[in-house]
């Protein structure tokens, strides 16, 4: 009597099982456990009490003014970072997609910011913006564009944009590379046909390049959004959420709630809210930019 599963299926199951077990331990369990934690009022400095509060942590955070501020800051930061990164990446990809002398060297140089560790990137830009001996002040003053040194990161109207600039510098190269790969796959015939039809450079870009870039653009938008919305390291190094609450983003709020206030329950709830927001945005991008079949 033949078994329900074939020999191949059983072998495959046995071979996959160790990986599955590891995934369950290192991925599934923490995810489920953190959700369980988010349903409790856990404050590490009060170890004797950890009552089950259901969804109260979620309600409390949603009503917290700090959460509203953090959502606003995160949205602004994400919109600026993702849009500027994408536009710059398209420009760089268009440039590097052309054949010219030094193209390979530029391609290699492009990788430098991306290869720089985030901590180093944050420290580098913090020094560039420094109010006393920063490069930005020195350059602007010497060019006569600024009268005296400014505290760039101390200006709450500029802080988020300046952090965003540091993020764009690091993230744009990878986005450009992803788009270059997509551009290389566009058939040359399409451009020739467009030229025959009398399309100029701009028209060829709008009607040939952009539609063909859709898969690459979707990848860039989803990836950059997921990275930006959860960005933490630059905020830790450059401003610590300040000045005041000028760079108080969701990831910073999670850090403060979890590791400074040691409120693991609300910290976990916030993490879930951030995860849900990330999934929602990613789904929207895939839904509207994904390849349409049929």
């Amino acid at each position: 009597m033949p078994g329900r599963f074939s020999y191949d299926n059983r072998s495959a199951a046995i071979l996959v099982f160790p990986v599955l077990a590891v995934l369950l331990v290192v991925a599934a369990f923490p995810i489920l456990y953190s959700f369980w934690v988010s349903l409790h009022d856990i404050v590490l400095t009060r170890p004797l009490r950890r009552p089950f509060v259901g969804l109260e942590n979620y309600g409390r955070m949603l009503a917290d003014p700090r959460f509203h501020t953090a959502v606003l800051r995160t949205t602004l930061y994400t919109v600026v970072t993702v849009s500027v990164t994408t536009v710059l990446a398209i420009g760089v990809a268009l440039l590097l997609n052309e054949n010219f002398r030094g193209n390979k060297l530029l391609n290699a140089l492009l990788l430098l910011p991306w290869a720089t560790p985030s901590i180093v990137n944050g420290l580098m830009w913090k020094w560039i913006y420094d109010p006393t001996y920063g490069l930005l002040n020195a350059v602007l003053v010497q060019l006569g564009l600024l009268e005296s040194y400014r505290a760039w990161l101390g200006d709450p109207d500029l802080t988020l944009l300046l952090i965003s600039n540091a993020a764009i510098w690091k993230q744009m190269p990878l986005a450009a590379l992803l788009l270059i790969v997509t551009m290389k796959a566009i058939p040359e015939d399409l451009y020739r046909a467009a030229k025959v039809d009398g399309a100029n450079v701009v028209q060829r870009f709008i009607h040939v390049t952009l539609p063909a870039l859709r898969p690459g653009l979707m990848l860039v938008l989803v990836y950059e959004t997921m990275i930006s919305i959860r960005h933490f390291d630059l905020f830790l190094i450059m401003t610590q959420g300040g000045p005041g609450d000028a760079s108080y983003t969701l990831s910073w709020l999670i850090y403060v709630e979890t590791f400074r206030s040691l409120r693991f329950g609300t910290g976990a709830a916030l993490s879930y809210l951030l995860a849900m927001l990330t999934f929602l945005l990613s789904w929207l991008f895939i839904r509207f930019l994904g390849e349409r079949r049929g």
Binding site: T45, L153, G154, G242
Partner: protein, 439 residues
């Protein structure tokens, strides 16, 4: 034969692993102690640990973490029941740690409590929570007002200011002389020092954050805290003697900036005066001197904010007789006198890194007097200022949560985003909310 050898090999391996692995339990049985601290004065601490091990035969397992991460690292270890015997603790954490049951009191340890007779009273008070004392001091310090003698001389100023109004006047004079744009330097970046700076300023304006019952008075209109906040706002936006960049200047960067000679006045922890006058560390070396904290407004005082860090024992160590004996020996050797009857670590910490001690007998020590003479032009001002140092009145079980809001409130005032009255009233409301929530 082969299988027997293999089994023996395994057993030998296990035995060896048991001997060399950092198994705390085994090590404790052999007379060891686990001590955790932050990464400060590491060389001095290690040297003293060697001396302690030599004198007592107790082996010390010493772990240290950066200060910025230390509280979280310590809490996670305490929650996880890590076998810690003695830890450095900040006075700011005492109430929440004591409430959590992570620290053992030393009320029944007369051998340790006898050192209170030789300690500055604010130091001892900083280790007391709900009438019980929780350790012996590692060091005690206070915020000092410091000035650059060179700048004052160039501006034709004969004596350092004694009130904050005089600070403003002298700063404006220095500015008018074209010596510098921002004569006053205050590190108001959102790091762990901000509350000490804010407290020192508030105390000098005759203010208190809370009353005797622990209820918030920080938002009281006309109170010292609001006046201090108003002063900061005016220094930045009205007098323009303090850089708007102060909100992104953390204490360490402030120290470097003041050491460069680019400012005339600052507030710094007293222990920094050594590095500020050290030719290897500061351009303005030899020119930095302490003065009494200026008085602010009509109700002003020369009071400043004092703090201590101390050695505390865990309840697990106290509960075990052998561990308790070792911990008591360690705390006495490090926080009191060593086996030769000397405050040797306290003296070494002062002479090597400038950390002031809580031990009063050391003030009469000739080497200590020479130290203050060399690095601060004498120890009189520092001694007088330490007598008017006040413990932070906001230390409470909810301090860790409240201080985040506090940092934001002070920065909002400096940025001109909130009036001092509104910011401090909101801060007071947060205090009351956390106090109510603490059950």
């Amino acid at each position: 034969m082969k299988s027997e050898l293999t089994r023996r090999g395994i057993l030998q391996g296990l035995a060896a692993a048991g001997m060399v692995a950092p198994g705390m339990a085994a090590a404790q049985a052999a007379g060891s102690l686990n001590f955790i601290g932050w990464s400060a004065a590491v060389d001095q601490v290690k040297a003293h640990i060697s001396a302690f091990e030599r004198d007592t035969g107790v082996r010390v397992n010493y772990e240290n973490f950066p200060w910025a991460q230390f509280r979280t690292a310590l809490v996670t270890r305490l929650v996880g029941n890590a076998p810690i015997d003695v830890s450095w603790v900040s006075d700011a954490w005492l109430p929440e740690f004591a409430e959590a049951g992570w620290l053992a009191d030393i009320e029944d340890m007369p051998g340790l409590k006898r050192y209170n007779a030789e300690a500055a009273s604010y130091c001892t008070q900083s280790m007391v929570y709900k009438g019980k004392q929780y350790g012996l001091a590692y060091y005690g310090d206070h915020m000092s007002f410091m000035y650059n003698t060179d700048v004052l001389q160039k501006a034709g100023i004969a004596a350092p200011p004694t009130t904050w109004d005089e600070v403003v006047e002298q700063c404006l004079k220095i500015k008018r002389a074209g010596l510098m744009e921002f004569p006053l330097l205050l590190s108001l970046g959102a790091d762990t020092w901000l509350i000490e700076f804010a407290s020192a300023l508030a105390f000098s304006f005759g203010g208190s954050f809370v009353d005797d019952k622990g209820d918030s008075v920080m938002g009281a209109p006309g109170g010292g805290v609001v006046a201090a906040a108003r002063f900061l706002h005016d220094c930045i936006h009205k007098h323009k003697i303090l850089s708007p960049g102060a909100v992104e200047t953390v204490e360490l960067n402030g120290l470097r900036a003041f050491g460069s000679g680019a400012h005339a006045f600052t507030i710094e922890p007293t222990y920094r005066i050594r590095s500020l006058n050290d030719p290897a560390q500061a351009t303005a070396h030899g020119k930095i001197r302490p003065a009494m904290m200026p008085k602010g407004g009509a109700n002003g005082t020369h009071d400043t904010c004092g703090w201590i860090r101390f050695y505390a024992m865990t309840p697990a160590a106290k509960a075990d007789r052998a561990r308790r004996e070792r911990a008591v020996k360690f705390i006495e050797y490090f926080g009191g006198r060593d086996t030769r009857g000397k405050y040797s670590l306290q003296e070494m910490l002062l002479l090597d890194v400038g950390l002031p001690s809580c031990a009063l007998p050391l003030t009469e020590d000739q080497e200590v007097k020479t130290f203050w003479e060399r690095w601060a032009g004498g120890g009189d001002i520092i001694a007088r200022q330490s007598m008017s140092a006040r413990k932070k009145d906001v230390i409470s079980p909810w301090f860790g949560e409240w201080v985040e809001t506090s940092n934001q409130a002070w920065q909002s005032v400096c940025l001109g985003r909130a009036t001092p009255e509104a910011a401090m009233a909101a801060l007071g409301n947060k205090w009351n909310e956390l106090k109510r929530a603490f059950r």
